[in-house]
Subunit: 295 residues, 2 copies
């Protein structure tokens, strides 16, 4: 027997998974006291059940205590196991000590999360130096891919696409999506000088002037990389590009700045709730959850 | 050998403790990435040292990850022990399951903090059903009291005080401070109907019309209790009261609303940085730290 709960903002995904897998939809309350502390209450019985919680881990510091409180009270109420559906998984970037004295937050956060839940499912985590989630997560952790859905979206919405990865790290997403969409692709080289300071090299794009450029990356956060890339494509007289991110964090006014920079359209999956969401990933999450709760 | 670090906002307290105890003042960086994740770097060597970190735990969800990252990197760099100076300790209120399914956050948070650090020192934690920190903290945890300093402040600043505790829970703070200030005191009874809905009973205050009422409580958060109490004292033609809180959280516009309600003055200790801080507690923190690092 399984029961699935949702953190605020993930109700649609949660309802879809519950419906796909024919599992009970649990009720919970989570709110903040005026002093900023978090309150959690489970309003559905969980004794003897496999408990699943949907909670995307963008803005992870704001959610981790609530998630810990949820998991602990579920255990105290007799839950058999606790699984996490985190459409977006945070703290994947600081995966080494770049400078002496730095906390390797990817390792510390994954260690904490491995204590809190018994398994997790996520979409396209930002794996870089670590190649698999199992290198930092001690619990079963499934990383599923949105590339099929991105390829389908491109095929349905863009007539003559050329896929563009804004940097070398993005090549894993863009090459996969391009192959699946049967479209050409190219990957730019990026030099990062700091959180907000990124320079992008110019590739040879003359052959693709009659194509619609489609930028593809895993995360759109500050959007600085995409903004730079959009500016370069403009300088090269390419058509206004469509920008696709698996995960749309859009820190501050990133979305509007990317539109102002010349993006024709910005599209993301619904891993993080945002008006740009147009690629639904509930079905692949549900399929991954099914493998975790099967016994 | 000991070294003390500070989270942002606690530099003055930290410098005072370092100076009092003649210990090294360490340097660290802590900041948020645009996506809300926390970055921590220690810039001073800690190998073989007793490491102390000052980090008040108001708004605890915003600080706990940074504290965990700090402690972990300090351990990886060879720290002998990690001690926490938390002038204010959060998550002390939900100390039982008032309704089925509620997370007992006092227990879960203290369990987490007991994993992160090796000892802690705090001022007047909100102990209620739990009588001692050792009931929920598995590490050495010293709860020191600001009542001497509050009594001294009252004696120096108020000519004919009558101390008033706004509710039964406050009697522990107000009776202690009143005895030390050689002043009369009374405690009102409060009925709490919700986070923001509190009714206060009327005591007989006729005997104190020529005194200055001094409201004393441990925490001023929403200030609703104090605002109600100030209104009642006004209705009874008492002088405008001075309001003293050990810890001034002042959620939202609580400070201005308490002034508007008729408080003559609001005074807090510097456990949480705020313009109302007028009672310095560094010396008692330093004394408590000294007992923890003594070997």
């Amino acid at each position: 027997m399984s029961i699935i709960f949702s953190f605020p903002g993930f109700e649609n995904i949660t309802n879809h998974i519950a419906s796909d897998l024919q599992i009970t939809r649990g009720k919970m309350e989570i709110r903040n006291f005026p002093d900023g502390e978090t309150y959690v209450r489970l309003n559905s019985p969980v004794e003897g059940q496999q408990v699943i919680i949907t909670c995307g881990l963008d803005n992870p510091d704001h959610k981790i205590m609530g998630l810990m409180f949820f998991a602990q009270v579920a255990r105290e109420m007799g839950a058999k196991s606790i699984g996490l559906v985190a459409p977006y998984l945070g703290y994947m970037r600081q995966d080494k000590r770049f400078h002496d004295g730095e906390a390797i937050t990817a390792d510390i956060f994954s260690g904490l999360l491995s204590q809190i839940v018994d398994w997790l499912v996520t979409i396209d985590p930002h794996l870089h130096r670590h190649k698999k989630l199992s290198e930092i997560y001690t619990i079963p952790a499934a990383a599923i891919h949105a590339s099929d859905h991105i390829a389908d979206w491109i095929k349905s919405n863009i007539a003559r696409p050329v896929l563009i990865g804004p940097d070398a790290e993005s090549s894993q997403w863009v090459s996969d999506a391009a192959n699946k969409a049967s479209a050409p692709f190219m990957v730019l080289s990026k030099v990062r000088r700091g959180d907000r300071d990124v320079a992008v090299s110019l590739p040879d794009v003359a052959a693709y002037h009659d194509h619609t450029p489609v930028l593809v990356d895993d995360i759109i956060s500050t959007a600085h990389t995409m903004i730079e890339t959009v500016a370069h494509l403009k300088a090269l007289n390419m058509k206004p590009p469509t920008c696709i991110g698996v995960h749309g964090i859009f820190a501050g006014d990133a979305y509007n700045r990317l539109i102002s920079a010349g993006a024709h359209r910005i599209v993301t999956s619904n891993s993080i709730p945002h008006k740009s969401n147009d690629i639904a990933i509930e079905d692949i999450l549900a399929a991954a959850v099914a493998t975790m709760i099967r016994e």
